[in-house]
């Protein structure tokens, strides 16, 4: 592969530090002939994707493909963007066209796995990501996609375990920390979740989503949220099952007063869990900003 020109190299470096607008400005200085080439179009698509401008990614990738012919990387960008625009069937077509050109492209396999998982096809997604893992077991995108597919399958415990492995393999990778934060949050482990997002935000301060999630979890760690931790940790079903067993168990063994007290406390707890989090969120956000 030919070396990147200085402009493209600068744009790529800017993308790696999550500065897509500056990367686009850099790409805008290219002469017209180079601007429509595959390397420039790939970087433009990546920059627009970082800004969540998915329709613009579709436009850029389509123009690049029209100008330069089929390219697996541009087809991957096109597939991902079409999926984000809600056109999953079109996305699949683009990704399969890409895989027809490069069946062992790890990023294409993982992107297709992501699209399948989002469309309720977690089993197929798992097979795709395992194929990618056979080709590049230590690639960050393989770790990340495995975790996302596990989450989509409802395997929260497995997703969190894989996130820990991802962090162990790539202790400096912001996505690894963010995924550990996300998977821990799903399991109600707010301290681990906060730490994950805090480290992700520290590693990549330009990524607003990491900072926003860290802020949400800072709210979840507030002392007033402490009583709700068991419900977050064990889930609604288990918490309710314990409460109901206690209330009706006490009544069954001839302790109606105690049962009524526990029932009343449970009712207060339910109202607390319903009312306090939104009020606290509103109050803290107003004071922290």
């Amino acid at each position: 592969m030919s070396a990147l020109t200085p402009v493209l190299a600068r744009a790529e470096a800017l993308l790696q530090t999550n500065r897509p607008q500056e990367a686009l400005a850099e790409l805008a200085t290219l002469p017209p002939a180079e601007a429509v080439g595959v390397p420039a179009t790939r970087l433009r698509c990546a920059a627009l994707a970082q800004m969540d401008r998915w329709e613009a990614v579709v436009h850029a990738a389509t123009a690049g493909l029209a100008a330069s012919g089929p390219d697996p990387d541009l087809l991957r960008h096109l597939g991902r963007a079409e999926h984000r625009c809600g056109r999953s069937q079109v996305a699949e077509r683009a990704l399969l066209d890409g895989l027809a050109l490069a069946p062992q492209d790890v990023e294409l396999l993982c992107t297709y796995a992501d699209v399948c998982a989002a469309n309720g096809q977690a089993d197929k997604a798992a097979k795709l990501v395992e194929r990618a893992a056979a080709l590049a077991p230590e690639a960050p995108i393989v770790y990340a996609t495995r975790i996302q597919v596990a989450y989509a399958s409802g395997d929260d415990k497995g997703a969190q375990r894989m996130s820990r492995e991802f962090v162990a393999a790539y202790p400096e990778h912001p996505t690894a920390h963010a995924l550990l934060g996300g998977t821990s949050a799903v399991r109600g482990q707010v301290d681990t979740a906060y730490e994950g997002y805090r480290q992700a935000a520290a590693s990549m301060p330009t990524e607003q989503a990491f900072a926003e999630s860290a802020l949400e979890l800072r709210i979840a760690r507030h002392p007033l949220m402490l009583p709700l931790r068991p419900a977050l940790r064990f889930g609604v079903l288990k918490t309710w099952a314990v409460a109901a067993a206690l209330i009706f168990g006490l009544r069954a063994i001839g302790q109606p007063v105690l049962s009524a007290i526990v029932g009343l406390l449970w009712l207060v707890y339910c109202v607390y869990s319903w009312v306090v989090p939104p009020l606290l969120r509103r109050f803290l956000r107003r004071n922290w900003h």
Partner: protein, 143 residues
């Protein structure tokens, strides 16, 4: 040879309608309102998650079976407590059926970035409405 993993399998998602409720949240109105409340909310939520018709029918059938069990309890025992507890237990069981069908589709929905709708209003309405309906039917049919 054609690689079967590379066969197209994705169907276009229906245009986004009302966002679904979190299936776990149906547990609350099921506990207070009984099996019919759980089934009604489960069927509505299944429609929002675009579940196939047989699964919606299974949820509806579970609700009817749960209510039938409650009727049988009311017909065979004296006193109100067993009938009340029967409603709670049947409601919980139906909500578990709902969860079994809806957990994965709801995960796929959140994986796509979808946000769940609030069940507070519909949940309270279903718990009260179907709770009263079940009580009236039990009184009319077996008491």
């Amino acid at each position: 040879m054609q690689d079967e993993l590379f066969n197209p399998t994705i169907r276009e998602q229906p245009a986004p309608g009302k966002p679904p409720w979190r299936p776990e949240s149906i547990f609350y109105p099921a506990f207070f309102g009984g099996p019919l409340a759980a089934a009604a909310l489960g069927v509505l939520n299944g429609g929002r998650l675009a579940l196939p018709t047989p699964q919606l029918a299974a949820i509806g059938a579970a609700g009817l079976v749960g209510f039938g069990a409650r009727l049988a309890i009311a017909a065979s025992v004296d006193g109100n407590a067993p009938v009340r507890y029967g409603a709670m237990i049947a409601g919980i069981l139906v909500s578990l059926v709902v969860l079994a069908f809806q957990r994965k589709p709801f995960r796929a929905y959140t994986y796509r970035g979808g946000e769940p709708a609030s069940l507070v209003g519909p949940g309270i309405a279903a718990a009260i409405g179907f709770g009263v309906l079940e009580a009236i039917l039990i009184l009319a049919l077996v008491r």
